[in-house]
């Protein structure tokens, strides 16, 4: 579709852009202490964007000369991104860390990042891939370092910049090799070019793929490209940590799925045989080992943390590992499982981080000790946090179990050569129980039972906690609608 015609199908992004611009301009008119009101503009804009996504046609096409895809798959991820952005904005209202700063830009940058994530989820051209990743990365650098008076936050930002620049450089190199081999930047054209490549190009192809994997692996914080994660997650404002652990990860997975299926697959869901296009290296096993390493490292290091925030940072690496288990399968149900997992993970992980934000604000710290007796002092927060921890462990009847269930089901469906991966996965869930339940232990088993119990003083906190907790619980035993929605979003992989 030509550029001009494309605009007619680009409403969500256009609305988002206008929202961001309005927010930036509106911010100019607010005094410093009122600048949080920008968030309301943004929330309105996000709601409009969500609305425009929901009413837009289910047309499957490419926009802007074949650089951006418009399809239910990207719409699914856009909805996830919008929900998480809106929730993080709501969560930021009560953040004590942000109290000392003018927050107008903070909210605007968050929305720009959402825009970048939109592009990530729908890019089908390697140039667009790169631009989208850069938009997201640069906004993340800003946000990670937003607490400029706090050294850790500066450190986080700097580390993020260095790692980000390095990995996107490597990725760019890989993309350029790929361009050299195929002579095109578009996914679908690449696919047919690769199919007709002569065999002496296979080394170059392998190198290109590995380099591109570095970039993607960095985005979803897969081992061994995860080293930035803990420090960045710990130093950033907790709201941003929550956002980074959910939204860019979702978009990153969308990008990986799309890239591998559409460049190396035949556009339909990959079957494991399609990996043969990259002969010489057992890709599925390699990706499987990466997944196993990611969850194991994430879990084993998470056990040793004393800060709940840092524990959650490592645990988010582990969760990326669980989702990666479904990547080497490249089956329809594998993609499906990743999408279910991301949906479930969004609520439970944001929820866990929100409680950390709350505890940070109320008890002045984010270590396990700060959670002592929380369940007695504030039963509501305690129960909700227990729910999030149980869900992150993956126990029924919570959303986390459904996510894991679909992942394991996809792995086992793929055949007995992947059973070892399922085995590593379930053992890791057992390991993760140890540190998640430690939070519960501190909340209930430690600390005195107090006679005075209290609810969160702010209504907003209660409401946001409920908004996060109710889906975490309900999706644990009734996820039919979510499953159907994802099924519809997957039509592009059913063969168009």
């Amino acid at each position: 579709m030509s550029n001009l015609n494309s605009l007619a199908h680009f409403w969500p992004e256009l609305i988002l852009t206008v929202t961001v611009l309005t927010a930036i301009i509106a911010d100019l008119f607010y005094r410093r202490e009122e600048s949080y009101k920008v968030a309301w503009w943004l929330l309105g804009g996000l709601a409009l964007t969500l609305f425009s996504i929901r009413i837009s046609s289910s047309l499957i096409s490419s926009l802007f000369m074949g650089t951006i895809a418009i399809d239910p798959f990207s719409q699914f991820f856009k909805v996830l991104i919008l929900i998480s952005t809106a929730l993080v904005i709501l969560m930021s209202f009560n953040s004590k860390e942000l109290k000392d700063y003018r927050v107008g830009e903070y909210y605007s940058i968050l929305a720009i990042m959402a825009f970048g994530l939109f592009l990530m989820a729908s890019a089908i051209d390697i140039l667009m891939v790169y631009i989208a990743i850069e938009i997201v990365s640069i906004m993340s650098f800003f946000l990670a370092g937003y607490l400029k008076k706090k050294p850790e936050s500066n450190e986080a930002s700097l580390k993020y910049v260095i790692y980000g620049a390095f990995s996107s450089g490597i990725m760019l190199y890989g993309l350029s090799i790929l361009f050299g081999l195929t002579g095109t930047t578009k996914f679908f054209e690449m696919q047919s070019a690769i199919a007709s490549l002569s065999s002496d190009a296979s080394l170059a192809l392998i190198i290109a793929t590995v380099f591109i994997l570095v970039g993607f692996g960095y985005k979803i914080s897969a081992v061994p490209f995860h080293f930035w994660t803990p420090d960045v997650y710990e130093g950033s404002p907790t709201t941003i940590t929550a956002y980074l652990s959910v939204a860019p990860k979702a978009a990153g997975f969308a990008m990986i799925i799309r890239f591998f299926n559409q460049v190396f697959g035949d556009g339909n869901a990959f079957s494991s045989e399609s990996w043969l296009a990259l002969n010489g290296i057992p890709w599925p096993q390699l990706l499987g080992i990466l997944a196993a390493a990611t969850m194991t490292v994430g879990n084993l290091v998470a056990i040793q943390q004393n800060s709940v925030k840092r524990m959650l940072a490592y645990s988010s690496i582990a969760h990326a590992g669980y989702m990666m288990m479904a990547l080497p399968l490249m089956s329809q149900s594998g993609i499906y499982a990743i999408m279910i997992y991301l949906t479930m993970y969004l609520f439970m992980n944001l929820g866990a981080f929100y409680v950390v934000i709350y505890v940070q604000g109320k008890f002045g710290g984010e270590n396990f000790e700060n959670f002592n007796g929380l369940g007695w002092k504030m039963p509501f927060v305690g129960v909700v946090m227990t729910l999030f921890m149980v869900a992150l462990t993956g126990l029924p009847p919570t959303a986390g179990f459904i996510g894991k269930f679909y992942i394991f089901a996809a792995v086992i469906e793929a055949g007995s050569q992947y059973y070892w991966l399922a085995f590593v996965g379930v053992i890791n869930s057992v390991i993760s129980l140890y540190y998640y339940i430690r939070v519960v232990k501190h909340m209930y088993l430690f600390g005195e039972r107090s006679e005075s119990i209290s609810m969160p003083s702010s209504k907003l906190v209660t409401v946001v906690l409920l908004v996060l907790a109710i889906p975490t619980f309900i999706f644990g035993w009734y996820f039919g609608p979510v499953a159907n929605w994802i099924n519809e979003s997957l039509v592009i992989f059913n063969g168009i």
Binding site: V390, A409, Y419
Partner: protein, 515 residues
Amino acid sequence: MNHLLSWIIWLPILGMVAIAFVPRDKSEVIKKIAAVFSGLQLVLATYLWSIFDASNGTFQFMERAEWIPSFNITYILGVDGLSLPMVFLMALIGFIGVFVSWNIDKAIKGYFSLFLLLNTGVMGVFLSLDFFLFYIFWEVMLLPMYFLIGMWGGPQREYAAIKFFIYTLFGSVLMLIAILALYFTCGNTFDMLVLIETAPTALNGMLWWGMSAIKVIWVLLFIGFAIKVPVFPFHTWLPLAHVEAPTAISVILAGVLLKLGVYGILRVNYNMLPDGVFWFAGALAVLGLINVIWGAMCALAQTDLKKLVAYSSVNHMGYTLIGMAAVIAASEMNGENLISAQAGLGGAVFQMFNHGTISAMLFILVGVIYDRAHHRDIEGFGGLASQMPIYTAFVAIAFFAGLGLPGFSGFISEAMIFIGAFPVFKTVVIISTLGILLNAAYFLWAFQRMFFGPANEKYNDIPEINKRELFTVIPLAVITLILGVYPRPFLDLIAATLNVLIESVVSYGGLAAAM
């Protein structure tokens, strides 16, 4: 009454909701709500028993509802002769458990909410016939159990609770893999009724990494269930959890939760992987033997009365395993000895029920003395018979029932197990009768040390067992005595179902050689 099984499962949840609306300082009201709801559940379970058609070996009172059609997940409930005694046992122990917990003084609201949630989880496992549902209920039990041990338990409660949690979760995730493997190899269904039909043949000849798929799935499931039983060497969580848990929770744990493992093996492994039964029966008998001897030896060495009782559970569950292994007696190569198989398997199920009542009684009685003396050291008492005569009488009943004295139900089931297993596992049976001897030794020795000999002055005015406690013990004692002299009603109840089970196991006996 429609949806009888659903009512039995969900009543405790309704009770939990009711408790949620009671202010937390109204502890009497909370206890009464818990008692009323578990009482109602017991009434329903008894009613279920009375209208259950014992001559029919298939599932009855089936309920079926759409749940998640996109993954073929259905809400299916049903009861047969195998699950009915367990449902009744849970309802009974759950009701009694409320009164055993009457003296809990810390966070009563939380305690009874979790207690009722645990009840629902256990009931759900016994009644669900959809594997997904089964698994959900199986895991729902874990969290309440963690809290009940971890918050209301003894000095080492945190460690005991997390050990229990991690151990059982480890077992259940292996089970999850097995469930999914069954799902994908046997026609994309979680419906246990369908799986029972298809699984025995669908897996034939399938190889995974050179191993028979049947064996792999069998072992995964077995580990999951064996941890609950607990089978040696997976039993180490049990003494710890028992000792640290509050009395009522020990009662539920020993009385019902351990049965979940055996129930699972019979329901899933036996029904769906009959070939594996033949492959594993020998190992099962030997594991049972180890449980019997190891449990008895450990019990002999204990000075803590509760630990002694805990190890006696390990010992008693060993007999069930031996009885279960006897099922292969009915196969062609073992001479189609149907009577042996019936006696062995029937004995195993009967032993499950008996251990439920006897160990519950034992733990309640341990709780009674602990509440008064605040310790459970066997050596710390002496001559209690003169100080607490009524209590002594009940301990005598429980101990004698525990050691398998004729006239008590435990004797019948153990005798049945030995009779059934003898033709196929002669050595195992001969050695395990030694276990009976050890059994008698540790119970009688403990009895002698605690109740006879010079009276410990310290406990001269120790209060006698009170009415509430008697109320919790008497029903169990009566059941033990009645079934000890007249086991017929129980055995008739389970016979038809077990015959179906034996038949389905044996009809695949010929395939075992080909494996």
